[in-house]
Symmetry: C2
Subunit: 348 residues, 2 copies
Amino acid sequence: MSQSHTYTVAVVGATGAVGQKMLETLEDRNFPVHELKLLSSSRSAGTKVVFKGQTLVVEEAKPESFENVDIALFSAGGSVSKSLAPEAVKRGALVIDNTSAYRMAEHVPLVVPEVNEADIEHHQGIIANPNCSTIQMVAALEPLRNSLGLNRVIVSTYQAVSGAGNEASEELRSQSQAFLNGEDLEANLLPVKGDQNHYPIAFNALPQIDLFQENGYTFEEMKMINETRKIMHSPELAVAATCVRLPFFTSHAESVYIEVEKSGVSVDDVKQLLTNAPGIVLEDDPATQAYPTPLSAAEKRDVFVGRVRKDLDNDHGFHLWVVSDNLLKGAAWNSVQIAERVVANGWL
Amino acid sequence: MSQSHTYTVAVVGATGAVGQKMLETLEDRNFPVHELKLLSSSRSAGTKVVFKGQTLVVEEAKPESFENVDIALFSAGGSVSKSLAPEAVKRGALVIDNTSAYRMAEHVPLVVPEVNEADIEHHQGIIANPNCSTIQMVAALEPLRNSLGLNRVIVSTYQAVSGAGNEASEELRSQSQAFLNGEDLEANLLPVKGDQNHYPIAFNALPQIDLFQENGYTFEEMKMINETRKIMHSPELAVAATCVRLPFFTSHAESVYIEVEKSGVSVDDVKQLLTNAPGIVLEDDPATQAYPTPLSAAEKRDVFVGRVRKDLDNDHGFHLWVVSDNLLKGAAWNSVQIAERVVANGWL
């Protein structure tokens, strides 16, 4: 299918933090959009949004909204995807879903193009976009798994508030100002909108992202464990995760400890593999204090890796510091990238 | 030696972040102070400080300042300790040093009272207070090592700016306000005052604490590795650390992964050991979202542990989330606690 084809694209959740980045990314990438349909909940319907200089009005998402849509990018929460993605598929649209609704479903490919692009081909109408913290980690680990083998991953995350939506960014902003003014902090949303207790995020760290599961892990932690195995086609891979929300707006950072299968691997070997890997930028030079940070990675589509070190006690162990914009590679860009691969390969 | 004895105590670095907390802690604990000498660099000499309702004037620290001093608490930087601690010892004072100057010296006990109080007895005039991020970790791990055996530690830290002194807290404050005002961020101090480049900490994360070593680890990371082994008398213990500075003022948090020697240990076993451990408060209940945070631990002397989980793939693996006020248990309180044990045991 050549680039002269153009597509009717729907964005569901167009007014949200990820939806806004999806529109920016479609525009930046000059995705071949014939017509753009902006959809949302009834609450946000009527909002005006500018795309390529044209003002578009957001409409309420309904089953009929997907008539004649080629590609539907969903990012309006799991319940919206559960009810409307099948309706979109029924009407012939390909759904790229950024919620957790279908990620672990057996016949739904869960895709990070740098890792498992070929899985896209077997889709049955829905392709799932993984969790933000999973995407950047597997993008960085795949070149190492591929060349060195991967036995084990232990990750501690440093995650931005924008992963919890625009309201969470507003909460960080208002709490930060209150703190600096010496006022009391009001917490109404984080760590999890639907949970019973809310704690301040400003000048704090919350070791809870998403709801607790029965095994004592949070859902975010279980997403990192289960999605990593699925994307990497490594059902036996040992993955251990601790996910922490922090007071910054954009980009997730991750302290990743891995054990590779191969013996005698050097730091330079690992750096070389990362330098050659698609979508990865190695930023690592202790002599010039070069390493990625949430601020330096923001608004960029790449996954940045620094602080590559070999474990001083374990020939197979390595540390990585992995940073990426959680709304771009972690969400909007990965979704649009899937759409680009679909179009380029004729997998629609 | 009974509590009716009183002591002449010197605080070197009395105007710094830790020095201020030392004075608060001496007062809060009602330490038997006969006379208090407040010492500092010439720059801060003349500053007035209130202790137990009395206004004291800070004097410039000189060799002669330590005449008739019984206990000298040092926290004015490594170079001050290197030049003046031997002068204090020569004049009969016991030095409790909160810098890294003597921590790894062979005949200097490196002490966290809950872990290795008995080491104090063999001091030769200087007792070293460990690095803040090390103290809270070993306090939490010692009861587990003691009952279950400990094979391995992999830690990622979430560290407050006050660990870099009052100036660093001021930098976070002013940068945060500038960011909220939409102004450019000026970085003059962090990650390390003496290093060549400075990066914004406000709404960011910096994966560098202290200077880089030749092996690619930072000095902070090497402190956690080497000091943990010394305090726990476990020279072979595998410790791997990644240290990260974050935009909050007080308390360090740590995502600690351990492998215990014993098989078949349950989460409840680990929780029970922590509940019974001195200086440790277990705050861990997913059902009520109970876990410690930097804000909740601030201004408290305990080490708080939460998010205790067993590795889903490894019978020996456990996760802990360890939080403590870096200026109290991480510095001032641990130093005063050592002084209390010295006095109680007649080890002066």
